[in-house]
Amino acid sequence: MIRIQSLAFAYRDGEFRLSIPEFETSAREKVALIGPSGAGKTTLLNLIAGIAVPDQGEVTVDGIAVSRLDDARRRDFRITRIGFVFQDFELLDYLNVLDNILHPYRITRALTLTAEVRDRAAELAGQLGIGDKLARKAGDLSQGEKQRAAICRALLPDPDLVLADEATGNLDPANKFRILDLLFDSAERHQATLLAVTHDHELLPRFDRVVDFSQFRAEDRS
Amino acid sequence: MIGGQTTRRLNLSLLAVLWGAAAVSAAAGPLRIHTVNYPLQYFAERIAGPHAEVVLPAPPEVDPAFWLPDAAVINQYQGADLVLLNGAGYARWVGKATLARSRLVDTSAGFRKDYLAAETAVTHTHGPSGEHAHTATAFATWLDFSLAARQAAAIRDAVVRLQPRLREEVEENFVALERDLLALAQQAKALGLYAKGMPMLASHSVYQYLAEAYGLNLRSMHWEFDQTPDGEQWAELEALLRRHPARIMLWEGAPQAGVVARLQSLGIRSVVFEPVANRPGRGDWLSVMRANLVRLEDALSR
């Protein structure tokens, strides 16, 4: 599913460099990424999602070389094929929960907002336990609710690949497992691959594979 | 700028309408002329003939000089095309009423300098305006028939101004009236010459113009023709007679028989000389005035 070869990436200020000789996941595999903070786990997710583009090497998702697509196509690819649960949720405070979930549909032509999509959004929100919070402004939600809204937004377009950056980081143990189950179920249902960054070792046994990020060379010159 | 030629033309036509408002309304029917006394009504009727409806709103029993019309009557005056005033302080209500200046015609304005002073005036002082006097002018101007003719001329001018198309007819009517008035004047003058300054009395001070114009040596009492004078008044008369041995007394109306008789005993003949300020019971202004002169002539000739 994901194939990375001879990847090298540096932020423009040049203070952080990441190089990954090889990394691969198979389809529908559930992989946990662990490693110390600042190791470049989020950077790797950004590179896979096409938010960042490698300086060298190639990122292929489902046979498509994401890093070689032009900007517009890379965006469309990301928005239609990849569900991204950001570490700090990236919700817009001035929109209510439903509008946040539907937001990707409103900012790109690659997705079409239909009544069916709305129904599905409501259903998914229900499954995530925020069905009654759809009309609430995102700014008024608790951390856990925000996280569920972010997951809901990521899963709504039925992505082939779900990238989760600390998706259970702010949850109590009960909820942590519930959300993880949901992520797993959803990935299962959509036959999607799941790549999740986590610090929570309790969760690791649930994954098919655990990749320790310390094996890759990361330099933080700051 | 707003306006320009069109507005100006509009304005001008509007003003023309206003200025000649009376003329316009008159074109639709007879002129509506209101007067403050009967002589002016008579003159206006003679001059305008059928082209005017001449109204004297004062009731027949009052002296129009001292009558005070109410607001409703003043509103009638306001609706007239012309309001003929006698001037010379006649009808003081005019000075207390609101009338359109443009419709007022002071028929004696042309001879203001010839106004005569009234005999009774009291000056008084109070307040910041200093000494001042009330009423000072004699107003029965029409008893000088030449002045009456000039008042008639003023009426003619006013009618012609409103109805220029009637100029000839109005002029003709005026000339006929003027002829009658001048004939009266002629007759009165002859009487004056005949009287040769003979002392005469008047029951009231209304004959100033008659006396002045025709040389009558007239002194006025303050007697009312329908009242019997009291002792004080008789005493006043007797005192006056010592300085002014009159043989004739002019009365505004027929005096009481007793008074006539007592005067007769003093050698004074009573002669009714009606000023006809209001409509007479019989005849018209001219016939009454002619009869006045006949009575005076008759008294003088005895």
Binding site: E90, L95 | T7, L18, G95, H126, P128, S129
Partner: protein, 392 residues
């Protein structure tokens, strides 16, 4: 664009204070010069229409503007008085109809305008309730004055002393309101109309008092004799003219010397107007004759010069405000960098982000334009009254 507008609408309604401030600023920038324009247009229309409908004004030499403003708008700058003779002189020329105007006194801040009946016909003023002036001491009042003072025919209105220190013996006159005029949408609506003679009574030139020749009160009469009576201030002067005392009201001196503030001369044709104007060209006459239109046009020129300056000031202020708005936007972009990053991360193109921001601007400008339009409609609808109450 619809989605962009939706999201932008959510943003602007979420940030109400910021949006409100921006909308207020943009609205003001648009509204101020336009409203000023509307009001000036209306004042020009009113000033000119009144001036154009008043062909000529005769008054004392001095400020032409004061004379015209007092005669046309009953302004409280009172020109030097002229005498009634001036009206007689106009009448004597036969060239124009003279309408006397004596706008000097006030009654509860409303101008008392002494004039003749011709004024009402000239201005096309109609009695709505009650009747026309008939007798001394009566007043007919404009529609607005009636409304503000709460007066109807049958009520009374007392003239105000000219100054607090007016101790010269001028008694306030209790006037009888006999009629209320129909609304004319002109300064006449605010005025209290009386006969010139009533105005002279207010001034003390005419008065009524106890009959000095018959009163026997020794404390009133100081001296009597030789057809002369001297009375003291205890002599009862009437402050109201009633049917009972109207006979005692009298004027002293020749009426032709009585004061007026102006005479409106209505010539019967243009040539007559020109001829009449010619008669006032001599240097030694204390009178001047004016075409109000000329004077008002002069005034308007000055107003427009002031307006140009005002426009420039508004322009500069507007530009500064616009720059401030641009700055607000620029700063808000910085503050919203994180949010923009989020949208970008979700898959939004830079073009769409620009569209979102543009949609916000469209909404703010659109809201401002709508408010501005409504306000202008209101100003326009009320401009007539507004101009009359503000300027005239």
């Amino acid at each position: 664009m619809r989605d962009s507008l939706y999201i932008a609408w959510r943003y602007v309604t979420h940030n109400r204070a910021r949006t409100g401030t921006l909308v207020a600023c943009v609205t003001l920038i648009g509204f101020l010069p336009l409203a000023l324009e509307v009001l000036l247009d209306e004042s020009e229309r009113q000033l000119l229409s009144r001036a154009e409908s008043t062909p000529l004004v005769v008054g004392a030499k001095g400020s032409a503007l004061d004379l015209v403003m007092n005669t046309l708008y009953f302004d409280d700058e009172i020109p030097e008085p002229i005498s009634l003779r001036a009206a007689d002189e106009v009448a004597a020329t036969g060239l124009a109809l003279p309408i006397p105007v004596y706008a000097r006194f006030r009654a509860r801040s409303h101008p008392i305008v002494g004039t003749s009946l011709d004024y009402f016909a000239f201005r096309g003023l109609r009695i709505a309730r009650g009747r026309q002036l008939a007798l001394l001491g009566e007043a007919v009042i404009g529609a607005v004055a009636a409304e503000r003072l709460g007066l109807e025919p049958g009520d009374h209105l007392v003239s105000s002393p000219e100054t607090v220190f007016d101790l010269a013996g001028v008694y306030p006159l209790k006037m009888h309101v006999v009629g209320v005029l129909a609304r004319a949408h002109s300064p006449d609506d605010l005025a209290v109309f009386v006969d010139t003679k009533t105005a002279w009574v207010i001034q003390g030139l005419g008065h009524g008092h106890q009959d000095v020749t018959t009163t026997r009160d020794p404390s009133v009469i100081l001296a009597r004799g030789d057809g002369k009576v001297v009375a003291n201030a205890k002599l009862v002067q009437f402050t109201e003219i009633t049917p009972d005392n109207i006979d005692s009201f009298h004027f002293h001196g020749g009426a032709e010397d009585y004061p007026l503030s102006a005479v409106i001369a209505v010539p019967d044709e243009v040539r007559a107007g020109t001829l009449l104007r010619g008669r006032y060209l001599e240097q030694d006459t204390p009178l001047q004759i004016l075409r109000p239109r000329d004077v008002i046009e002069g005034l308007l020129e000055n107003i427009f010069r002031i307006k140009q300056v005002l426009d420039a000031v508004i322009g500069v202020v507007g530009l500064a405000t616009l720059l401030a708005i641009v700055l607000v936007f620029a700063l808000s972009l910085r503050l919203r960098q994180r949010e923009i990053d989020t949208i970008f991360k979700l898959g939004c193109s830079r073009g769409t982000i620009a569209q979102l921001l543009a949609a916000e601007i469209v909404i703010i400008v659109g809201l401002s334009a709508a408010i501005c339009l409504v306000l202008l409609q209101i100003v326009d609808a009320y401009s007539g009254g507004l101009v009359r109450s503000l300027f005239l």
